[in-house]
C-alpha cells in the first residue's frame, strides 16, 4: 500500500503505521506459538516417559533382555568374561566411532552393557549375539557391532547409543 509521506523525515502517520504493523506482527507470532507448541509431547506422554527400574538378578551370565523405555528398545546384556576381554582388546583408533569399552559401561559393573537397540544407520533393531564380533548384527543393511555395541563393519556411522542410567543397587538399574 502506498503511503504519501514526506521523504525527509518520518511523519506521525508513518509512526502509526509502523506501530500498528509491528503490533499485528507480534500478535500473529504470539498467537502462532500455541499452534506449534501443541505438537510437542503432551504431559501424559512426558509422564509415561519417566525413568524405569529394571531388576538385573534374573539375567544369567551370557544372557540378555530387551526392555522398552520411551518407546525405544533397550538391550541389557550380562556379558561373559570372554566378551569383556574381547571388547577391551580392540585398539581404539581402529574404530569408526572411537570409544573405549570402559567409557560405555559403569565402573565396577563391567559385565553389564546397556545400549539402545536402534541401529545408527537407518533405525532397525539389531539382533543380539549375532555377527562376526559376537555382538550385534543388523539384518537390514549388514552393520556389525561388537560386544561393547561399537560399530565395526557396515554402513552405520556410530556406536549403539548408551541411554542415561545408573545403578540403584548391584542388582537394579534405573534407566532414564
Amino acid at each position: 500500500m502506498t503511503i504519501a509521506s514526506s521523504a525527509d523525515h518520518p511523519t506521525r502517520r508513518d509512526f502509526l503505521f509502523v506501530a500498528t504493523g509491528a503490533a499485528a506482527a507480534i500478535g500473529t507470532v504470539f498467537t502462532a506459538w500455541p499452534f506449534i507448541s501443541q505438537m510437542n509431547p503432551d504431559a501424559s506422554t512426558i509422564a509415561a516417559g519417566a525413568p524405569i527400574e529394571v531388576d538385573l538378578s534374573p539375567i544369567a551370565d551370557g544372557q540378555d533382555i530387551k526392555v522398552f523405555w520411551r518407546g525405544k528398545p533397550i538391550y541389557i546384556m550380562h556379558r561373559t568374561k570372554k566378551q569383556i576381554e574381547e571388547a577391551r582388546a580392540v585398539p581404539v583408533d581402529t574404530l569408526k566411532d572411537p570409544a573405549t569399552d570402559q567409557s560405555r559401561v559403569k565402573e565396577g559393573h563391567d559385565q553389564w552393557l546397556v545400549v539402545i537397540g536402534i541401529c545408527t544407520h537407518l533405525g532397525c533393531i539389531p539382533i543380539a549375539y549375532e555377527g562376526i564380533y559376537d555382538g550385534f548384527f543388523c539384518p537390514c543393511h549388514g552393520s556389525q557391532y561388537d560386544t561393547s555395541g561399537r560399530i565395526r563393519q557396515g554402513p552405520a556411522p556410530a556406536n549403539l547409543a548408551v541411554p542415561p542410567y545408573q545403578f540403584v543397587s548391584d542388582t537394579k538399574i534405573q534407566i532414564g
Binding site: 503490533a23 501443541q38 503432551d42
Partner: protein, 685 residues
C-alpha cells in the same frame, strides 16, 4: 482476466510466473485496486470477520484432530486429555468451541445486514443463494461438531436430530438407520460425523470462493442501495476496506477473547460434561443457541412431519427472498415501513430463540406458535405486500451524495428496539415453579477475572476427598503428577511420589500372564473404588456414584432473565461449585411433612427432586486438618468443592493469566487500528 487492475510486477521471476498464471494481477484486481463503495458502514466488516473465523475454525479443528479419536469409548476422555495434557490444549479447545458460536453470531449479523439493505436483490440473487447454501453447510458442520465430545448433550442431540428424518413417510426409518449406521446413535455414527465434520468446512471454503466471486461480479451493495456511478463513489479496497475490516475484526476479537479466556462455558450446556449415557436422557435437551429459533419452530407444530417441514422451510424460505421482496428500492434506509417490520422480525427471531431454550409447556408453546406464524408471515405475506403498497423515500443521487448526508437516528432506533426486546423477553418469563432450589452464592477464591485457587483449600479438599469421598467416587481424570502441576495444590515431586506409593494400582499381565498389584507412581491416575459400573451400582442401592473429576462443571442451575445477562459481564460462572457446596450441606433429617421420600433415599434441599440416593457424607469432626482449619461440615464442603473445581479445570489460573495479557494486547491493538483507520480514511471523507 480483465479487471480494475493493470498491475504488472517488476521482478523478473514474478514476471515469469505472472505470464503463466496471472495470480498477482488477479489478487491485485480483487483485493487491492478493487473499487469498493466509500459509504459502507461497519455492518460490512462481517464478511471479512467470517473469512477469518472460517480459517480459525479450520486451523484449530485440524490441530484438535491431531489429538482426538472418534471412538465412542475414547472420545470423551480424549477431549478431556486435550484440555488437561496437551500444551495449550485448553486454549485450542476453547478457541474452537467459542469460535463456532462467534462464527454463527457473525453470520447472523451478516445475514440481517443483507436483509435490511436488500443485498439479495437483483443482480445479487445468486450471491444470496450461495450464502444460504453456506449457512446450511455451517449448520450441518456445527451439529456434527457438537456430537464429537460425546457428552450427554452430544449423544441426545444427535438422537433427536437424526430422528427428525423418521418423519418422512415410507423411507423415514430407512434414512435414519442409514444415518446411524446401526440401530441407534453409536460408534458408527460418531465415526462418520467426524469424517464429515472434517470434510464440510473445506466444502464451505469452496462455496465461499464462489460467493466472493459472485460478489465481485455484481460489486458490493452499500447502505444507500444505489449502485456506484462514478469514481467518486468508490475507494480502492486496499488500504481502505482492508484496514477498516482489520479494525472491525480486532473489536470482534475482544468479544471472542472474552469467551475464550473468561466465559468458556457460558454458551455451552453443563450436561455435556457428563459422558454420553444411552440409558438416561437429560431432563432438558437443548441444542446450541444458534439453532434455538429453528428448534422453537420445530416444536411449535404438533404434527411430527409438518414440524420437520416447517423447520427446514424456515431456512429455505431465505433462498426465495429475491422473488418474495420485489420492491425496487434496495435499502430499508429509504423504506420506512419495511424498516420497522425488519426490527420487529429481528425481535421475533430473538424471542423464538429464547423459546427454543424453554421446555415446551404452557405459555411457551402458545408464544412459539404465534411467533412461528409471524416468522413465516414476514417472508410470505408482509414483504410481497410491502413491495406493492409501500411508498419509499427519495433515494440520494449517488453514493458520494449519501456520504455527505448524516444520520444518527438509526443507532437510537436500534437501541430502543433492543431495550423493548429485552423487556418483552423479561415479561414473558413465567414464574415457573422451580423443580430445583437455587443454592446460596459463595465467595470463591477462583471466581472473577483474577481468581486463583487457594492452595491450602485445595490441599484440605484433597484430604476430604481421600478420607471420605474416595470410598465411593472415582477421580479418574486426575493423575498423581497433576498434584505437583502449577496452578494446583502445589505439592512437590517428592510428596507426589510418596502419596502415589500409598495406593495399590492394578497392573499386568506379567510374564506369567497374571495381573498383579504394585505401588502407584506419579503417572498413574487416582484408582476407582469399584472395578466397574455394575459393582458401583450394586454397592450403592442401584445408583452409581458419579466420577467427581468434572462434577463442578457438569452441574448448574437456571439463573433466569435478567441474571444471565448480568452474569456475562460480572463473569459469574460458579453455578456448579455453588450447587455442589450447597448439596453437601443440604441434607435434612426431617423432610417437609408433605414430601413423600422414597425408600432408600435421603432428603436434600438442593438436589433436583429432593430425593438423593447418597446418605449425608459429611459430619463435623470427621476430618482433621493439619493447618488447624475448623473441622466443620461447612469447611469440608467449601474445601472439597474448591478441590473439585481444580480437578475439573486444572489450568484455570493459566487461562485467566493469559487472558489478561491477551486483553491488554487487544485493547492496545484496537486503539492502534482505530487511529490507523482514521488516518487511512482521512482523504476519503
Amino acid at each position: 482476466m480483465s479487471g480494475p487492475s493493470d498491475y504488472q510486477p517488476s521482478n523478473p521471476v514474478l514476471q515469469w510466473i505472472e505470464r503463466r498464471l496471472p495470480i498477482l494481477n488477479f489478487a491485485h484486481g480483487s483485493f487491492v485496486a478493487y473499487p469498493t463503495p466509500r459509504n459502507l458502514n461497519y455492518w460490512w466488516t462481517f464478511g471479512a470477520i467470517l473469512s477469518f473465523m472460517l480459517v480459525m475454525q479450520i486451523v484449530t479443528g485440524v490441530i484438535l484432530a491431531m489429538h482426538y479419536a472418534p471412538n465412542a469409548d475414547l472420545a470423551f476422555r480424549n477431549v478431556e486429555l486435550i484440555v488437561r495434557d496437551v500444551n495449550y490444549g485448553w486454549l485450542l479447545r476453547n478457541m474452537h468451541a467459542a469460535g463456532a458460536s462467534m462464527f454463527f453470531f457473525a453470520v447472523y449479523v451478516h445475514m440481517f445486514r443483507g436483509l435490511y439493505y436488500g443485498s439479495y436483490k437483483e443482480p445479487r440473487e445468486v450471491l444470496w443463494i450461495l450464502g444460504v447454501i453456506i449457512y446450511l453447510l455451517m449448520m450441518a458442520t456445527g451439529f456434527m461438531g457438537y456430537v464429537l465430545p460425546w457428552g450427554q448433550m452430544s449423544f441426545w442431540g444427535a438422537t433427536v436430530i437424526t430422528n427428525l428424518f423418521s418423519a418422512f413417510p415410507w423411507v423415514g426409518d430407512s434414512i435414519v438407520t442409514l444415518l446411524w449406521g446401526g440401530y441407534s446413535v453409536g460408534n458408527p455414527t460418531l465415526n462418520r460425523f467426524f469424517s464429515l465434520h472434517y470434510l464440510l468446512p473445506f466444502v464451505i471454503v469452496g462455496v465461499v470462493g464462489l460467493h466472493v466471486w459472485a460478489l465481485h461480479v455484481a460489486g458490493q451493495n452499500n447502505p444507500a442501495g444505489v449502485e456506484p456511478k462514478t469514481e467518486k463513489d468508490t475507494v480502492p479496497f486496499t488500504p481502505h476496506a482492508t484496514i477498516k475490516d482489520m479494525f472491525g475484526l480486532s473489536v470482534f476479537l475482544i468479544l471472542y477473547a472474552w469467551f475464550i479466556f473468561y466465559m468458556p462455558n457460558y454458551l455451552g450446556d453443563a450436561d455435556n460434561y457428563i459422558p454420553a449415557n444411552p440409558a438416561q436422557t437429560p431432563p432438558h435437551i437443548v441444542p446450541e443457541w444458534y439453532y434455538l429459533p429453528f428448534y422453537a419452530i420445530l416444536r411449535s407444530i404438533p404434527n411430527k412431519l409438518a414440524g420437520v417441514i416447517a423447520m427446514f422451510s424456515a431456512i429455505l424460505v431465505l433462498a426465495f427472498l429475491p422473488w418474495l421482496d420485489t420492491a425496487k428500492t434496495r435499502s430499508s434506509k429509504y423504506r420506512p415501513l419495511a424498516k420497522q417490520f425488519f426490527w420487529i422480525f429481528v425481535i421475533v427471531c430473538i424471542v423464538l430463540g429464547y423459546l427454543g431454550s424453554k421446555p415446551p409447556e404452557g405459555i411457551y408453546v402458545i408464544a412459539g406458535r404465534i411467533l412461528t406464524v409471524c416468522y413465516f408471515a414476514y417472508f410470505l405475506v408482509l414483504l410481497p405486500l410491502l413491495s406493492r403498497i409501500e411508498k419509499p423515500r427519495p433515494l440520494p443521487n449517488s453514493i458520494a451524495d449519501d456520504v455527505l448526508a448524516k444520520s444518527g437516528k438509526a443507532v437510537a432506533a436500534m437501541i430502543a428496539l433492543v431495550v423493548a426486546g429485552g423487556l418483552l423477553i423479561g415479561g414473558m418469563q413465567n414464574a415457573r415453579a422451580e423443580e430445583q432450589e437455587a443454592p446460596p452464592g459463595n465467595k470463591w477464591s477462583f471466581a472473577g477475572p483474577f481468581g486463583k485457587y487457594d492452595r491450602g483449600s485445595l490441599q484440605r479438599g484433597l484430604k476430604v476427598y481421600k478420607e471420605v469421598c474416595s470410598n465411593c467416587h472415582a477421580l479418574s481424570y486426575i493423575a498423581f503428577r497433576n498434584l505437583a502441576d502449577p496452578g494446583g495444590p502445589g505439592y512437590s515431586e517428592a510428596q507426589v511420589a510418596a502419596l502415589a506409593s500409598e495406593y495399590k494400582i492394578k497392573d499386568g499381565p506379567n510374564d506369567q500372564g497374571d495381573m498383579f498389584e504394585r505401588p502407584g507412581r506419579a503417572a498413574d491416575y487416582f484408582p476407582s473404588p469399584f472395578p466397574n459400573e455394575q459393582a458401583a451400582r450394586a454397592s450403592n442401592g442401584g445408583a452409581a456414584p458419579p466420577d467427581l473429576s468434572l462434577i463442578t462443571k457438569a452441574r448448574s442451575y437456571e439463573r433466569g432473565f435478567p441474571w444471565f445477562v448480568f452474569d456475562f459481564v460480572t463473569q459469574y460462572q460458579e453455578q456448579g461449585p455453588d450447587y455442589v457446596a450447597a448439596l453437601l450441606q443440604g441434607f435434612q433429617d426431617n423432610p417437609p411433612a408433605d414430601f413423600k421420600l422414597p425408600e432408600g433415599s435421603y432428603y436434600n434441599k438442593y438436589f433436583p427432586g429432593h430425593a438423593i440416593k447418597m446418605p449425608k457424607p459429611l459430619q463435623d469432626g470427621q476430618v482433621t486438618f493439619d493447618d488447624g482449619a475448623p473441622a466443620t461440615v461447612a469447611q469440608y464442603a467449601k474445601d472439597v468443592t474448591s478441590f473439585l473445581m481444580w480437578a475439573a479445570e486444572p489450568h484455570m489460573e493459566a487461562r485467566k493469566q493469559l487472558g489478561f495479557q491477551v486483553f491488554v494486547f487487544l485493547i492496545i491493538f484496537v486503539g492502534l487500528m482505530y487511529f490507523t483507520k482514521k488516518k487511512v480514511w482521512a482523504d476519503a471523507h
